[in-house]
């Protein structure tokens, strides 16, 4: 490890998790994301894929999923190990013996294989063991599916998403998977911190349901605070009816989202409307007035935005000091030069993969994250990992492949 005692002088920082070995088990997006964050924080991350995958989900069978996993599995290594056979389980336990962290989809299948986190932790008390399941390891809802759509439905997110006149709708981003992955990462690094101080490991038990619940904070406040609202979806308006205008407005080229959280914001907007000769009737000065007349307020704002392009509207609203942003298509997001300057979106030229990559959101100012590598193909690192971690000779790795303990590249 390099000497990094110089703190904020930025002379030389090591990557924060350099030297830690992470073993990743499972194919869920949340699990893949934990490994993504760890790998780009400098940990050595090895994916252990099972033939058939956890829950039988198997390797990706369509291009979209394959591209997605290509984004999330960068900078990792991969082995495919038959955990059903005794030999494969022995190899796995040997790898756990050399790992600082083992994490992933510790569902019923891992339990049935005798590889529950409790078992692994009992055998190695300094291990940080992270589990990600739909409802946690306490057995409360053993059959809950981990499907993104189902978790969003069950935690109430869909019921508050969409227009009042429409049925509930899912959130497009995979929030159940990524909130649970991010929380598991958080728990794991907390466990590493504790281990640095005490030498003891721990089990982190993350439930997808739990991880998504806090983001519903405002909506929960509404439910607790008043009579139950049978149509709780407010489209793009403020769910708490605490702010107006707060909505998405049509422009000549698309939409702009804006939020007025103070009366001064509204005054600034009125200034814009007046130069456009859009009349604003009296009685809308206070937030409470505007909330009470929200349809009228939205009509006035919309009359102004429709006369200009999204870019023009955003520039004027921002200049007036009111929080706003263009509603961008995914194509526009991908092309955004500012995201490249920031380094969160990276252009790539990888045959068969996406033309862009994503960097880690865990950024340290003045430090450079490791360059994005490629996602491994399954089994790509049988020799490297078993050699480096366990000292297994190439001949013995070949033998493990020949006996299907390691699945090797041919099966895929």
């Amino acid at each position: 490890m390099s000497d990094v005692r110089s703190h904020a002088g930025h002379e030389e920082f090591c990557l924060p998790l350099e030297g830690y070995r992470f073993l990743e088990v499972g194919t869920s997006e949340g699990t893949c994301y934990v490994g993504f964050l760890a790998a780009l924080a400098g940990a050595s991350v090895c994916r252990v894929e099972m033939p058939g995958g956890e829950g039988g989900l198997g390797p990706p069978h369509n291009e979209a999923v394959a591209l997605e996993l290509g984004l999330l599995n960068v900078n990792k290594r991969s082995i495919v190990l038959d955990l059903v056979g005794d030999k494969g389980r022995t190899v796995f336990l040997d790898l756990v013996g050399q790992a600082d962290v083992v994490f992933g989809d510790f569902g019923p299948r891992m339990d049935a294989l005798g590889l529950a986190p409790e078992t692994l932790f009992a055998a190695k008390p300094e291990l940080v063991c992270g589990s990600l399941t739909p409802a946690g390891r306490t057995g409360e809802l053993p059959e809950l599916t981990s499907a993104e759509l189902a978790i969003q439905a069950y935690v109430g997110l869909m019921s508050v998403t969409g227009f009042p006149s429409n049925p509930p709708v899912q959130v497009g981003p995979a929030v159940a998977a990524f909130f649970s992955g991010a929380h598991l990462y958080d728990g794991i690094v907390s466990g590493l911190f504790h281990r640095e101080r005490t030498g003891r490991g721990c089990i982190i038990d993350i439930a997808m349901l739990d991880s998504l619940y806090p983001a519903l904070m405002s909506n929960i406040g509404l439910v607790l605070g008043g009579p139950f609202n049978p149509t709780p979806r407010e489209g793009n308006r403020n769910a708490g009816q605490a702010c107006a205008p707060y909505n998405m407005y049509e422009t000549s080229t698309g939409y702009v989202a804006l939020r007025v959280s103070r009366d001064e914001h509204w005054q600034a907007l009125v200034g814009l409307f007046e130069t456009d000769h859009i009349g604003v009737p009296p009685g809308l000065e206070s937030m409470a007035d505007r909330v009470a007349s929200v349809d009228l307020v939205d009509e006035i704002v919309g009359a102004w935005t429709r006369r200009r392009s999204t870019t023009e509207a955003c520039a004027a609203i921002d200049a007036a000091g009111v929080p706003c942003g263009p509603v961008r298509t995914i194509g526009e997001v991908v092309q955004d030069p500012h995201l490249r300057t920031r380094g969160i979106v990276v252009d790539r030229s990888h045959a068969g993969g996406l033309p862009i990559g994503l960097q880690t959101p865990l950024r340290f100012y003045g430090e450079t994250p490791p360059p994005l590598g490629d996602a491994p193909s399954p089994s790509e690192h049988d020799f490297d990992v078993l050699g480096e971690w366990l000292g297994v000779s190439p001949e013995d790795v070949a033998e493990l492949r020949a006996t299907s303990v390691l699945r090797g590249p041919d099966v895929h």
């Binding site: 703190h7 924060p16 998790l17 997006e29 989900l57 369509n62 291009e63 979209a64 591209l67 409802a135 409360e140 809802l141 059959e143 499907a147 759509l149 189902a150 109430g156 997110l157 869909m158 969409g162 429409n166 509930p168 709708v169 899912q170 959130v171 497009g172 981003p173 995979a174 990524f178 909130f179 991010a182 958080d186 690094v189 907390s190 504790h194 640095e196 089990i203 982190i204 439930a207 806090p214 519903l216 929960i220 406040g221 439910v223 605070g225 709780p232 707060y246 939409y255 989202a257 929080p323 942003g325 509603v327 961008r328 298509t329 997001v333 920031r342 959101p361 950024r363 340290f364 100012y365």
Partner: protein, 412 residues
């Protein structure tokens, strides 16, 4: 004055096992983003000192109005924190903060970019007296972003990240997530960045400047959308409640006579279980639907089959049949049912407390569950300035007279 607020009795975990025990955090966070990170820090055992302006932070002010349940989020976001007041607009207040930062391990803020530097409290200043401080900042677009000082709110980040574009039904306008996903994604990543830096600091002594952007933090959850966009070489259209990556079928929301259910079939075993259920309901299942590819090809037909089953039955009837047949199926729940769900009590995510003026309130505990009982003992959110004496006198070493003078001068 004794605290009249009632906490239910609970078992006390072993405090030595609180993962972040011994870490002191100065928390300048407001509303949701940074306060969520510090909520998780506090509930992992860190000593979090919430520093508020003399009138309280914005979320507390909202609570004072208690309009439409606005009082609840403050209580839920600030459990287990100590509360002090401090006026950063006057030099004596800033001096006090410098003293606190000199003794702390972590400082967290989510002011608009540049505010801390203008106050003379930026990371380079704070690192001069405490070079191993982890300075953690969360903003809309990150430090040195091409977006300059563009204000960021949850809804504008949802708009600009493409999350809105990916949400909703085809033919309808984009719609935001009902939950504040941009704020909470930033918060959960801010925690990750902070503790990652703390792990490195344990080994090297180096501080860091954690620089988390709401935009960066939401983008990984767009991975399935990105995969779908590039796989089809077209701009993603909103896919309602279908599988965004077109990887699974049937995978959708279906109306029942009493509400909606989600059926999420991802494997052939699950399809067989569903087919058995359908046949038991005397619905004829045509042949040739084995294999997800064939079901995707006949997506409408498959959806209609499931709909035929659900639309003439109540949600309860569907769930009972699905549960018996091991079909992955959940109700689309309203938040009132979610908030009241005994699962969250047994799991320990929610603890019902009596709060004067607010009534029975389910206080949130960290989704990062450690082992069986590794949680800190729950303490309710601090009253404004509740711990001024503990912090300024007992921790910082000011005399009671000095504290009194500071209070008179409006510093605290």
């Amino acid at each position: 004055m004794p605290d009249q607020r009632v906490l239910p009795p609970e078992s006390r975990g072993d405090e030595d096992e609180n993962l972040l025990r011994g870490v002191t955090v100065i928390d300048l966070g407001q509303i949701y983003n940074a306060p969520y990170a510090t909520l998780l820090l506090a509930q992992a055992g860190a000593k979090v000192i919430k520093v508020e302006p003399p009138g309280g932070e914005r979320n507390r002010k909202r609570a004072k109005w208690n309009l439409n349940g606005a009082g609840y989020p403050f209580e839920m976001m600030n459990a287990n924190k100590l509360g002090v007041t401090l006026n950063l607009k006057i030099p004596e207040g800033r001096e006090l903060l410098l003293d606190m930062a000199a003794r702390a391990d972590v400082l967290v803020e989510n002011f608009r970019s540049g505010v801390m530097d203008r106050l003379g409290l930026g990371p380079s200043t704070l690192h001069r007296t405490n070079k191993s401080l982890v300075y953690a900042s969360s903003s809309g677009f990150g430090k040195d972003s091409g977006y300059g000082t563009l204000a960021a709110m949850d809804v504008t980040i949802q708009a600009m990240s493409g999350a809105m574009d990916a949400t909703g039904f085809e033919g309808d306008p984009p719609v935001k997530s009902g939950a504040a996903i941009a704020d909470f994604f930033a918060g959960v990543h801010l925690f990750g960045g902070i503790v990652t830096a703390l792990v490195r600091r344990e080994r090297t002594g180096a501080g860091a400047v954690v620089d988390v952007a709401m935009m960066d933090a939401i983008l990984p959850s767009m991975a399935p959308v990105l995969g779908a966009a590039f796989a089809r070489h077209q701009v993603v259209v909103r896919s309602g409640n279908e599988s965004i990556t077109k990887a699974y079928a049937p995978y959708n929301m279906y109306a029942t006579t009493s509400g909606h259910v989600v059926v999420a079939i991802r494997t052939d075993d699950e399809w067989q279980a569903l087919a058995t259920c359908l046949r038991a309901a005397r619905i004829q299942v045509p042949g040739g639907l084995e294999g997800v590819e064939s079901r995707l090809e006949r997506l409408r037909e498959v959806d209609e089959l499931v709909e035929k089953w659900t639309k003439s039955r109540t949600t309860e009837e569907i769930l009972a049949a699905a549960n018996d047949g091991h079909v992955p199926c959940v109700p689309v729940r309203h938040l009132a049912d979610v908030v009241g769900d005994p699962y969250f009590r047994r799991r320990g995510l929610l603890v019902d407390c009596d709060l004067p003026g607010l009534g029975q309130l389910p206080i949130l505990r960290s989704p990062i569950r450690v082992g069986d009982d590794g949680r800190v003992r729950l303490r309710l959110a601090p009253k404004l300035g509740e711990h001024n004496r503990d912090v300024y006198v007992n921790w910082l070493g000011r005399s009671p007279e000095e504290l009194h003078a500071l209070q008179r001068a409006g510093v605290v």
